[in-house]
Assembly symmetry: C2
Homo-oligomer: 420 residues x 2
């Protein structure tokens, strides 16, 4: 099997971080990651510093404009403590969620509050320069609408539908968008947004980050976020942190084998989960059911639809009680559940969140997935396991892209790659 050439990727420039801080400052910022606002006493408790040292470090951060004092916290018996938070006026962040056929992009303040939003139809199979130029235009539009300066854009978080080498911020062997391989996305954006650092991740990871920061994944230490649509992928959180794996391609569950005798997948193997259970497999089975007469309803839909069927048609047929459509959805859920059962044994998550286009399929799909997991996983691993559709819908990705940009806002001067 050919091994992709990654030399170029290895030579990609290191992450450019906008705000370098020292070790002591990093401790304050780290304490602030757990909560939006924090008192001096809390910082002192977390760091173990004296009051004097705490005041000194805070004063330095306030003087530099990184922190501001806001409102008043609840009293703990003494005088009401002033609260500190990261200075929203520091600048702006961009969250960019790139889909196969869409661009979803927001401008937020460094606190993560979304201030501007744009969406556009676009084809990711375009050359990356063209595609990303369109993204830059949308960002510039938002900068103008917000009335801020380009150099106030401090960070750009990008989600892309393909395998990302996270350290170097490039796509590696992306099946949907071969022209993007090793294209230096960071460099591209930094030509226009020179004050910004750029963090690139895959689309499912940013959904998982979104779920963790603003969804039901908050406070959850171990979860798997699964996106089911044209493909199938997952984002993994272990011990409260994104697990990206050694190369950054963890979570690629679409090519786990379901049936060695199954159809050939675009990856070259047979019977991959994606080839058997994702959107295209569902419509293919629906077309068969329409043709072989097992579903007159699907045939009718196909005839009225110029000879094609989409996943939504299968869903609609199922809602109208069509047995063949129901069976197709159940079979898909069963296969996804079989693969998840193994991952549940291996990973022992407390939550599985399901997102992506297929979530429209609703309860029939969810019940089939749950049933398969319960049947094949060990009881100990499923006792407290929750499997549900993500309630964030399409917001998961864009929320995660902004959160990803926020994570790298402050970076320690002597450890430029580690998140504070």
């Amino acid at each position: 099997m050919p091994v992709p050439e990654t030399t170029e990727a290895r030579q990609a420039p290191p992450l450019h971080a906008p705000i370098l801080i020292n070790g002591a400052e990093a401790e304050v910022i780290r304490a602030l990651r757990r909560q939006a606002k924090i008192s001096r006493t809390e910082i002192s408790n977390i760091t173990g510093w004296s009051k004097a040292k705490t005041s000194l470090e805070i004063r330095s951060l306030v003087t530099k404009g990184y922190l501001v004092e806001v409102g008043e916290g609840s009293s703990q018996g003494g005088r009401k403590p002033g609260l500190l938070q990261i200075n929203d006026q520091l600048g702006y962040l961009i969250g960019l969620d790139i889909g196969a056929t869409s661009i979803d992009v927001v401008l937020a303040n460094v606190g993560g509050k979304v201030l501007q939003r744009r969406t556009a139809v676009a084809d990711v199979r375009q050359p990356p320069e063209e595609f990303l130029s369109r993204c830059s235009e949308l960002i510039l539009e938002m900068v103008k609408a917000q009335g801020c300066r380009i150099d106030q854009v401090l960070g750009i978080g990008v989600g892309l539908p393909g395998p990302v080498d996270f350290t170097h911020g490039v796509l590696i062997a992306p099946p949907l968008m071969p022209g993007w391989e090793n294209f230096l996305i960071r460099d591209f954006f930094q030509r226009t947004f020179s004050a910004a650092y750029v963090v690139v991740d895959n689309d499912v990871n940013i959904m998982a980050i979104g779920e963790q920061r603003a969804g039901d994944g908050m406070q959850v230490d171990h979860f798997i976020f699964i996106k089911i649509g044209t493909g199938i992928g997952s984002g993994i959180v272990s011990n409260g942190k994104m697990h990206r794996g050694s190369i950054g391609c963890a979570g690629d569950i679409g090519h786990i084998c379901v049936d060695k005798q199954g159809p050939i997948c675009r990856c070259g193997n047979t019977g991959c989960l994606e080839a058997m259970a994702a959107g295209p497999a569902i419509t293919e089975r629906a077309v068969q059911a329409a043709r072989n007469g097992s579903s007159p309803l699907l045939r009718h839909m196909m005839e009225n639809n110029g000879g094609i069927l989409r996943p939504d048609d299968v869903n609609a047929a199922c809602r109208e009680g069509d047995q063949a459509a129901l069976e197709i959805i159940r079979a898909s859920g069963q296969m996804i559940g079989d693969v998840l059962a193994g991952l549940v044994n291996f990973f022992n998550p407390s939550h599985i969140f399901i997102g992506g286009g297929i979530t429209n399929f609703g309860n029939h799909l969810l019940v089939s997935i749950r049933r398969a997991v319960l049947q094949r996983s060990l009881p100990l691993a499923t006792t407290h396991l929750s499997i549900n559709f993500s309630r964030m819908g399409p917001e998961a990705g864009i929320t995660g892209a902004v959160a990803l940009a926020r994570e790298y806002l402050f970076v320690m001067e002597d450890r430029p790659f580690s998140i504070v």
Copy 2:
């Protein structure tokens, strides 16, 4: 499928930690985890503290007897810095590796240096009181031989061959040893060793910890340690930390499905990896080959062996060029590799270490596993993947048990459950 009752486990007492430290002290100790000895300057660099503050904290830790000053480090231009390390004289730690038929136990100093060692044959299917009393006897023997006091035993790390609820230190639904379910192992040991805290983990996790602390897993952020013997299990390291999952049963890969049409497993499902590829499945296939005439050598061995075959016989036959034995080993490797292929896609480790009794099978097994993984995993995930037998052999478990005990030696007073 019945859900095990875990109410009792939930009521198990919290971890009893012997040395409680404050936040600032914890920072020094944490810095010392990365290296055995450290200079004041290094502590200052890592913590971001002033020289004065660093000296103050170190003096406090030295006065309390937790740290000692040793030798001299290499000069960085200025005067040669005195080095600090954790005080070996603080007390002793016990590492206890319990197998299905064996006890392997060591007494080490808090620096992790093994000073005494005992091994014994024992049957884990005994009632836990009896079995653990034998373990206590062995520990007391070592304490006596070392000439130390019982109250100098500060920590006991225990590895057990079953699913462990790590937080509560009890076994949950252990198939090999049903009498142990929810037995309070910590309480048992603390009746004799009242100064010791007790950390209980499963046997494969302690092997993974051993590999991480003293084997080829040092400096490796993401790896899977697989134990193949009578059963099949794994220990997982993500972002440099043990991944135990939400209940603590992560890594249980023995019951991932290989073939739905396969034989019934002791878990009640069909075609589990363990039922198809572990030691007993190998000998069962060897017995078939002996009986159906496809291997005269295995038949001969079986006849000379009172009608039974052990995995080692299959290995010996393979070494003598027996084709049937070779095929049996290859088939086992192929199935293990097929499951690993999925886990490699999901987890993207840089290393897989293989341990347990089956490692005697050598290259034929290893090559089959590697081949299956390379065939079914995505190229991006296997480009830099190393799959090898652990070079630590049986030392992995006992080394990990001591390391586990060491991890909980210092615990922050306000966060009793988190490792410093």
